[in-house]
Symmetry: D2
Subunit: 316 residues, 4 copies
């Protein structure tokens, strides 16, 4: 029993910031997410067509990085099956926690690299409170504004041992690998996972520093490549640090743009065109080090910080 199908999709990411007000201003005014609600320590954010109340939980903290990663189960029964599988797996179990404004109770556990995961089934569906927020088209979740990203897409975590992280994802979430990097020394340098027809919803790349439980980036999907180009102008105009892009990844073919929000967490806005993984027997695409050295799809050399910067930062 592989667990494939038990998890419906990536639900939300809790991002930590030690500059809460500036980060919130960035995500709402510049990056284009919408504020659904807030409590003492956290703001609940979503993209304009996310059906859930929250896909990014921005939490004030002493450090930056990722608080937890949440996946939604396909049904209450599927949630129970995953809990049983995880409890039998030997991975660290934190156990059931109460929900928050955005969803009901969730089951928490951790990978060996310091990242906390949770699975839940009962989300709060987003409902527009104000007339101006109501979508003109009833098959979209809320009003479309500017170059705003459409929905949460994926995140990227760092781990010392990607092979072990792969086993974690397959065991606990029933995820599949769609693409991967095999280093010359035989190790897996990076791995792209999915629980559904998206080409990936989580990527894991090798931790080069001394960090533990670190975040590489969180990504929202834009409808068109032109939205990504326009976002670049918006970031430029607002003094946001553009790290690299727009350009096209060789791996997964994503058209990407990476920036750092005010607290230093890396955030991406990306477009994948019409690409989906529909084959039920898809075999992972394997990239070699030599192929990686060619740079991104159109030849851009990967910028150095992309290999070194993660949150929270570490002493080198």
């Amino acid at each position: 029993m592989t667990g494939w199908g038990d998890i419906a999709h990536l639900g939300h990411v809790e991002m930590l910031t030690d500059r809460f007000d500036e980060s919130l201003d960035f995500f709402t005014r510049v990056y284009g997410l919408k504020l659904s609600g807030s409590d003492g320590r956290s703001a609940y954010l979503r993209a304009w067509d996310d059906y859930e109340f929250c896909t990014l939980k921005l939490t004030s903290a002493d450090v930056t990085g990722v608080g937890h990663v949440a996946y939604r189960a396909a049904s209450p029964e599927a949630l129970e099956r995953r809990v049983a599988a995880i409890e039998a797996s030997g991975y660290d179990v934190i156990g059931w926690v109460d929900g928050d404004q955005s969803h009901g109770r969730a089951f928490r556990f951790a990978d060996p690299f310091g990242h906390v995961f949770e699975i839940y089934y009962d989300p709060v569906w987003y409902e527009a409170q104000q007339e101006a927020e109501k979508a003109a088209l009833k098959n979209t979740a809320s009003a479309y504004t500017g170059a705003a990203p459409r929905r949460i897409d994926h995140l990227n975590l760092l781990a010392d041992d990607v092979t072990e992280f792969r086993r974690f994802m397959e065991t606990c979430l029933g995820s599949r690998v769609t693409e991967m990097i095999r280093l010359d020394n035989g190790r897996i340098g990076g791995c792209w996972f999915t629980v559904n027809n998206k080409s990936y919803d989580l990527a894991c790349t090798e931790e080069h520093g001394k960090g533990h439980g670190r975040l590489h980036h969180v990504t929202y999907a834009a409808d068109q490549r032109e939205d990504v180009l326009r976002a670049a102008d918006i970031f430029l105009q607002n003094g946001v640090h553009i790290e690299t892009g727009p350009h096209k990844h060789a791996i997964q073919g994503t058209f990407f743009l990476y920036v750092w929000e005010p607290a230093g967490n890396r955030v991406e806005i990306a477009n994948s065109g019409a690409r989906l993984i529909l084959a039920p027997d898809w075999q992972p695409v394997v990239w070699t080090e030599a192929e990686r050295r060619k740079g991104q799809a159109w030849g851009l050399k990967t910028i150095e910080t992309f290999h070194t910067h993660g949150t929270p930062p570490v002493e080198e």
Copy 2:
């Protein structure tokens, strides 16, 4: 047991043409599909990033319209489960047929409206035979050329009773409804189905004429809206009949362009942006007649032939 998950995706459509040479010229030179192979009566075509050998089987015939519609099962076991469900359903069973150049044996059955379906598990995966056809990026199936559509997306069939067709799709394929039209008289005027995270892979709209087993259109997905705009110029330049578009559908939000290939079958090229249906408990969006009267998303009135033209044509 609903059958959800047993079917992986829409596999291919057999389109009938009484002008084979002209239709083949249109699909390869103008529309941008690639020729994988041919036998005495049929040409096997695919889009540049379809992983299967064939997603459009163009077959010479005395009439136009759809020969059969094929879905790929998620596994050999899932195929057996679907066969058992269909045999128990009371719908017309044609039974197992040999495959062709593009896939192994398939199980055939029919809806009550004259459309033949098949389910198969063993496809022939596309492999580039010539150097020029090999993809520069190994995670794409073949060389990208021009404004060519990327992969098969969906088809639309006509039926006298959409409610009954809905029962057929749910029973035989485990499909779900994502959007639908409810007429003032209570009937379902149209229904959009999916077996996976795509927002739809098959639509059924009410047959207004006296036709039986008729096709409304077949659609391939383009990566960007700009590809659809460029396709309009290409169709114009090549004297292809553009029926309507480019414009944005209210239902499903698809950015569309409809043309008639030389034999009269309606063909679409479309872009859906980043829209996916990820919620496992998605409730169908229901459109009223009054809402439909507003026209498409940006106000374009639906052209009359869109309600009357299907293939094969019928005497009015």
Copy 3:
């Protein structure tokens, strides 16, 4: 002496509105122009990359339509040459008027169809007053926001006799004709004029109603066709009446979208791609009635109101 070169470009249009507050809200919040200043009766607006303080002067009035049309001369000497030519022409001369917030003194005159024109040389150049308005790139005029149109592009006026209007434009402004419609009865149905390398900065089409001095529309240029598509979503979301488009004109090849601002004046946002008229001896492209009947470039039939609606409205 033709006068070619004496006029540099279309400067601004004064648009009249009997719903000033709603029109101003539309142009700033929805259409994306920026407010440079205001006085008792008028708001001075510009697109983000217009170098002048004002390209749309929105004026409160009892009627809708166009107050006046202003062109900037290429030099003080060129202005004098135009004034002499106009005074010698026999067309109605209004004479020198003081400027306003946006430019110095101007010479006013009128065509025989009730439209007031002016020529000026001294504009107020736009200077950002607030930090947030300053362009990140010093070769652009101000901050880029959302899908905002980039610069004023052209306007369209109605006249009973387009041939006579053509003589007016050639005599007074040294304009050239780049495209035109010749009706089966020999009359000119429409004429597209330019004073520089733009393919047109003013169009004149035949007045079908009983109107005098009426406006057909005012247009701003968007950088990309995607901006026009996005604008359609923004108009939809804000309840703006979309009259027709997005689609591509056969004449001039412009990718267009027409809406009515709250007072009923027709406003366009459009993209012309890389098209420019560079040939110094360009001969007008002439379209026949039969060609016009084919509709727009991709076959869209021209909507009826496009032939009848102008501002101010007239009793039919």
Copy 4:
């Protein structure tokens, strides 16, 4: 008398290649230009909407680089005025030469840095010879195919002394400067010129090597940024060396993509959006070295070869 207005536009560039067959294959099959004609040593090429028979004359030679640069005069009288101005200027005069397949007699002269220029008035206008080449829309010059660039846009030449080159352009062609780089040592590092409303038709940057009369690149304009992105995929698929891009220049704001054709000449495809220089009294935008160090508009560092590679190559 400045000469402004005497020159209508950049006409064509003669590019030298020591790999004629491969260069011709690149420009026609991959880059998307059309072959108008050929003679013993040269192929005459144009973009799909260039009105002239030839905008790139590709000539077989022992070296690479630029053969000559041709501008079209605004009238026969303007041509004579320019000839008189050039003869009086002291710059090297080569004199009148016969035309070729693409234009009548031309007046040749040279800048002090080894680049040959010519001015002509009588071009051969392109006329489609084959039905398939005729434009579906009569206001475009020929059939639109694929991602083909629309018209010639500009070229970039290298010179030891940009200040002196500026004097040459102002004296001989009546060109104006729209943007420039002022180095910390006071020298002009680069200068962008125009004879019309385009923001530039020729750029000159400082020669860093020992070269003389060298070419930096030739550029054609694409209608949309999406065409530039698509071109990147086409170049990738055809094994063309992509040097840098797609990205947005800070200077002039052009969205660019640079490749090397088989003989090593640098070729660009670019989009400028709706940007035009319409102000008759435009003052040059001046960029400092510090501003240049920030890289391109969205932060991309300029690739080293961009500063060193020109054609013909030189020994370092």
